[in-house]
């Protein structure tokens, strides 16, 4: 328990120091609970998520980093590997391929990579997965872009 706290504290300091290093990711820790984190990530360019800002919620177990954090999207997103209602993410490194060498920061990077490279063969969002699997790239992109506009962009534009 002490180990997870110490490690999270280290990560917190690292995040503070390197804030500018990765402008696509803003990690923040809950003021009162070091086991609760949120992140704002920018949708990767040349994807339907470009221009959107997506919020993630981290729930870190006490066994961290030996066990993976639980991450889900708070912002609605149309993506084959994200549950449309709950925001749950299907990503191997968050399940059995987790390694204690990962950090919250690197998990965010992995999620951004997942947004750019969806895995339609293990879909949590079947509609989205089916569009991709049937080769309807345009359909997928326009749906995803629509939801990005609706949910992940500020209302001004």
């Amino acid at each position: 328990m002490q180990a997870s706290r110490a490690r999270l504290f280290k990560e917190y300091k690292e995040v503070q120091r390197e804030k500018a290093a990765d402008p696509d990711i803003q990690l923040a820790c809950d003021d009162s609970n070091i086991f609760k984190w949120t992140a704002l990530i920018k949708g990767p360019s040349e994807t339907p998520f470009e221009g959107g800002v997506f919020q993630l919620a981290f729930s870190v177990p006490e066994q961290y980093p030996l066990q993976p954090p639980q991450v889900r999207f708070l912002t609605k997103i149309f993506h084959p590997n994200v549950h449309f209602k709950t925001g749950e993410i299907c990503l191997d490194i968050l399940k059995n391929a987790w390694s204690p060498a990962w950090t919250l920061q690197s998990v965010c990077r992995a999620i951004i990579a997942l947004m750019a490279h969806p895995e339609p063969d293990s879909p949590l969002n079947c509609d989205s997965g089916n569009l991709l699997r049937s080769g309807d790239i345009r359909g997928y992109q326009s749906m995803a872009r629509m939801y990005t506009r609706l949910a992940a962009m500020s209302k001004k534009g």
Binding site: A3, R7, E11, E14, S99, P100
Partner: protein, 585 residues
């Protein structure tokens, strides 16, 4: 039939001349397949390590590996050494190792003076407090230990991977043991036990003995997992499904049968179709004819058709016209079918039960037979060898067993449940006749054998005894032969002709269910298998539960290697032994 009898008679005539040393000699004449040494081994807690060692040694020698690497490989390939070697030949050493998570980078020398950044806790630690795995990744001991503890508690002891991302390597068990035992000695023990028991848990050819309470043993078979074995604790079971020995039923048939017998589903079926529960006392009521207004023994009258209590809506005068009778026709058909199914089931079940009951009663014969034999011996006849009595009794047990299990087999083989689509009706009929002919023959001879064995022949004169002896010997051979033929029919003509070969049965063993022999324990030179094997192996025999084995078991106990938890009953007869030996005991 006739020629088979006479030829075997001859067999017996010659064998009788030298059969003073008992059943072993006789058996070799009745034996249809060449006798082989027992291929089943009992693995006790004590010999588990030794059992693994054989396989580990083979892999270590061939690939010149250290033990923990060999174990990692074997766990990955489920202790199938042949498969492991096949992969080696097919795909090469590197692929074999990579697949199982074995990496061979042998540099453990950390510069102990310098400090190392552990990527897990992100702390700088002195090199002495860090450990580098074979894969080359190093982390601090603290993080390693935590990692191991989490994994062991998750039940992953057998494949704890390195902490580095995408590193497939399995951690060195010595390091795991060493680090974990510093903090949680009991957990390290658990880890060791998991590794050790992997040999049983992950191995197709090894299974725990299903005895309850558990005797602590496991059984290893050599080549065929469809076989029946007897553990050294005395339990006989089907190795494939771990239920009681049930050949010639297939495992699936047996599972269905026990379930059926257990919940008496046919009876329940019949009751639901033929009775209605009374709306007042809720007892099932059967209609014995007449109109649909029935009255229960408790006095309550109700409508048979809808089960409703008669009140204002259902009266004597108005029941005829009411609407709940529209399903009547369908119900009748269903009732007919249920009745037919029940009768069919009852037919097979009654016979199965009758033979099982006879089998149980005949088990009591062991004692009386022993008495009879000692009486005969006191009579000082010309005839000195009475192995034919125990021989015949044993043959009776064996064939009675086969006979009783042949009924559930027939129930499923010729029923609608399993093979409806596999045979046409005509085909099925022909096969059923073929099978039933053999079954009848066997049954007749088993009953005859039983009758003669039960004769009070110890009170007869010498000539009469000789006569009975001849008959018993002949019947023993005939029943054995018939059992064998029935199995041939089942394996070749019945199950063999099916499209899907999911019904495999344990082959007929004339000598009975194979007793697993204890595995030799290499680290104790006093107890070697060569000492005991010959005696045990030739005495493989069925039926005699908790048989007393005078040879070997004593010496085992003295050397402290025996793991038999159950006390052996001294009073039972070992039917494998010649009568003289039994009497001496």
């Amino acid at each position: 039939m006739e020629d088979c009898t006479s030829s075997s008679e001859q067999d017996y005539y010659c064998s009788d001349q030298d059969s003073l040393d008992g059943i072993d000699n006789d058996e070799s004449h009745v034996q249809w397949v060449p006798p082989k040494a027992s291929s089943c081994k009992v693995i006790t807690k004590e010999s588990l390590l030794a059992a693994q060692r054989e396989d580990l040694r083979r892999v270590m020698d061939l690939l010149s590996l250290r033990e923990h690497h060999a174990r990692t490989l074997l766990i990955h390939y489920r202790w199938d050494v042949e498969k492991l070697f096949a992969v080696l030949v097919e795909k090469g050493r590197d692929c074999l190792f990579a697949g199982a998570g074995v990496t061979l980078v042998e540099n453990h020398d950390l510069p102990s003076s310098s400090t190392i950044m552990c990527n897990i806790c992100i702390e700088d630690v002195p090199g002495a407090d860090a450990t580098k795995m074979d894969c080359g990744h190093d982390f601090c001991n603290n993080c390693w230990t935590e990692h191991f503890i989490v994994k062991i508690n998750e039940g992953q002891s057998k494949r704890i991977r390195c902490m580095a991302h995408k590193c497939n390597a399995i951690c060195d068990e010595a390091i795991v043991r060493n680090l974990v035992s510093k903090r949680h000695p009991d957990l390290a023990e658990k880890f060791d036990r998991f590794l050790l028991e992997s040999y049983i848990e992950d191995n197709k050819m090894v299974k725990w003995c299903p005895s309850a309470p558990h005797c602590g043993n496991a059984i290893r078979v050599e080549d065929d997992e469809f076989c029946e074995v007897e553990c050294s604790c005395g339990l006989q079971f089907c190795f494939s499904c771990l239920a009681e020995a049930h050949s010639p039923c297939s495992c699936l048939m047996w599972e269905l049968w026990t379930k059926k017998c257990h919940d008496e589903s046919e009876t329940v079926n019949w009751i639901t179709v033929h009775t209605k529960s009374c709306p007042k006392c809720h007892k099932p009521v059967e209609k014995n004819g007449g109109c649909n207004l029935v009255s229960c023994i408790c006095g309550q009258a109700f409508c048979w058709l809808c089960g409703g209590a008669t009140g204002r809506d259902h009266t004597w005068s108005r029941i005829n016209g009411h609407s709940c009778g529209r399903y009547k026709e369908d119900r009748e058909k269903k009732a007919e079918r249920a009745k037919r199914d029940l009768y069919r089931y009852m037919h097979y079940h009654n016979r199965y039960k009758a033979h099982t009951d006879s089998f149980k009663l005949e088990s009591n014969l062991k004692e009386t037979i022993r008495e009879k034999v000692s009486n005969l011996e006191r009579n000082e006849l010309r005839l000195k060898d009475f192995s034919w009595v125990t021989n015949g009794l044993y043959r009776l047990f064996r064939s009675r067993r086969v006979l009783s299990y042949s009924y559930p087999f027939a129930y499923y083989m010729f029923g609608d449940d399993l093979f409806m689509d596999e045979m046409t009706k005509e085909e099925r009929e022909i096969k059923q006749h073929l099978f039933e002919d053999q079954q009848q023959q066997l049954e007749a001879n088993v009953e005859k054998l039983s009758k003669y064995i039960e004769e009070p022949f110890d009170q007869f004169g010498e000539n009469k005894v000789m006569e009975i002896r001849m008959v018993v010997i002949n019947l023993s051979v005939i029943t054995d032969n018939l059992c064998k033929k029935m199995y041939e029919c089942i394996e070749n003509d019945l199950l063999g002709s099916l499209q899907f070969g999911i019904h495999s049965i344990a082959p007929y063993q004339s000598k009975g269910i194979e007793k697993a022999t204890e595995l030799s324990v290499c680290w104790n030179p006093k107890v070697t298998n060569t000492e005991k094997c010959p005696t045990r192996d030739y005495h493989t025999n069925g039926i005699t539960k908790e048989s007393n084995r005078p040879s070997g078991s004593g010496s085992l106990d003295e050397s402290g290697c025996s793991s038999r938890k159950r006390p052996r009953k001294e009073s039972t007869i070992d039917l494998n032994l010649p009568a003289e030996v039994i009497d001496r005991n």
